[in-house]
Symmetry: C2
Subunit: 207 residues, 2 copies
DNA sequence: TAGATTGTTAATCGATTAACAATC
DNA sequence: TAGATTGTTAATCGATTAACAATC
């Protein structure tokens, strides 16, 4: 265990959930072990890359045999922090927000939306699943009181930065942003943008 | 104009829509020119990278002065193929599908959803905006007759591959896939995956 | 033991960035 | 002309892949 841990590349972190989902699929088929070769084939990745990614976090494999599926899934869950429930607030209960909310309910995932917020008075009190939409005024207190560290932003572009500021002030450390703006956040806060327009436009190039 | 064009990296293509949106914003503020320095500052990118990206496609800048905003926006639109309307079919009109459909209506974008399809009988005939949901049986003909090259898949994971196969058979060349599965497509067809679960799980790591 | 597959080193490949001559 | 900024080359950085000794 050396002191100077090399920073783990984002690109590796983003592959871990892909591995995890694949392993969970294998588990549902009662597959016990899998080789990097097999994984690489099924996931369209280089086996050496998979072995390298995994070996960053530990010696999870068995030489001559591969990886024990459920054991590796457990390890990856723990590495990602998905072994305990992660409470999330969603801000902006428009069509997309409501869709994400409903989607999340049907997943048995560690990431769980526990609070809905909207700035539009007409939306307050609407119920989505078991959650009632709350007014923006309650956002900061709610985040603080429930020790929430992750948020989803699905408000219009114009409102996104101020929502983001409020979230950050309340202690949120990771934001999944669907608004088409570049959010400004302080050091230590992580933003992941998801932008359908950008994705469609990039795809257009290949036509 | 050399014959052997170096393949343009995907990562460059994915930055172009970001540049484009930024330029359009500048236009709305009546800004005439912008330097790579300024762009880099506003977009959190290295100015040299921006110049390099742009110079792949032509000499768009003016030395000592920067880039003419609206001219560059035009060029980028053309490069991405956004100078003409791109018709899209959306398959799977659940919550997410409906949200994307409504979102698309309010954008003045070149990419335009022109057909909605769903395999669920109850959904057929429902109207979203000006579009009526059609049965899956009509998908292939519709795509062929309207010469559609781009599609959005928002069906459940289990149905995604067969929808994909139908789309590809009908001539679709670019797919934005929201189903949490790795789609199998032949050479020459482009798939872009968008997966909220993967993104949330990767974010969880940084908490 | 023989066969298989890991973990890891070294080689390769590709993308980012710095630096600067060209030039508006 | 002086100042600014491009387009591009060369240097750097980082990620992917091949190869193989270790070992189950």
């Amino acid at each position: 265990m050396t002191e100077k841990k090399h920073r783990i590349p984002d690109v590796v972190i983003r592959r871990l959930p892909v591995y995890l989902r694949y392993l969970q699929q294998l588990m549902s088929y009662d597959v016990d072990t899998v080789s990097s070769q097999q994984m690489g084939h099924d996931l369209n990745l280089n086996p050496a890359q998979i072995r390298k990614d995994l070996s960053i976090f530990g010696d999870f494999g068995v030489k001559g045999m591969g990886y024990r599926v459920s054991e590796l899934a457990d390890k990856l869950s723990k590495i990602l922090g998905l072994d305990k429930e992660i409470p999330i607030v969603l801000v902006g209960v428009g069509n997309l927000g409501a869709a994400l909310c409903r989607y999340n309910r049907y997943q048995k995932s560690a990431t769980k939306i526990v609070g809905l917020f909207d700035g539009h008075p007409a939306k307050i009190g609407q119920v989505h699943g078991s959650l009632e939409v709350r007014p923006m005024e309650e956002l900061v207190d709610f985040v603080r009181q429930n020790n929430i560290k992750m948020a989803i932003i699905t408000v219009p572009a114009a409102a996104a930065q101020s929502v983001c500021d409020a979230l950050v002030a309340a202690g949120v450390k990771a934001i999944l942003n669907f608004a088409p703006v570049l959010l400004n956040v302080p050091e230590g806060v992580r933003v992941q943008n998801s932008d359908v327009t950008v994705e469609l436009q990039a795809l257009a190039y290949y036509l």
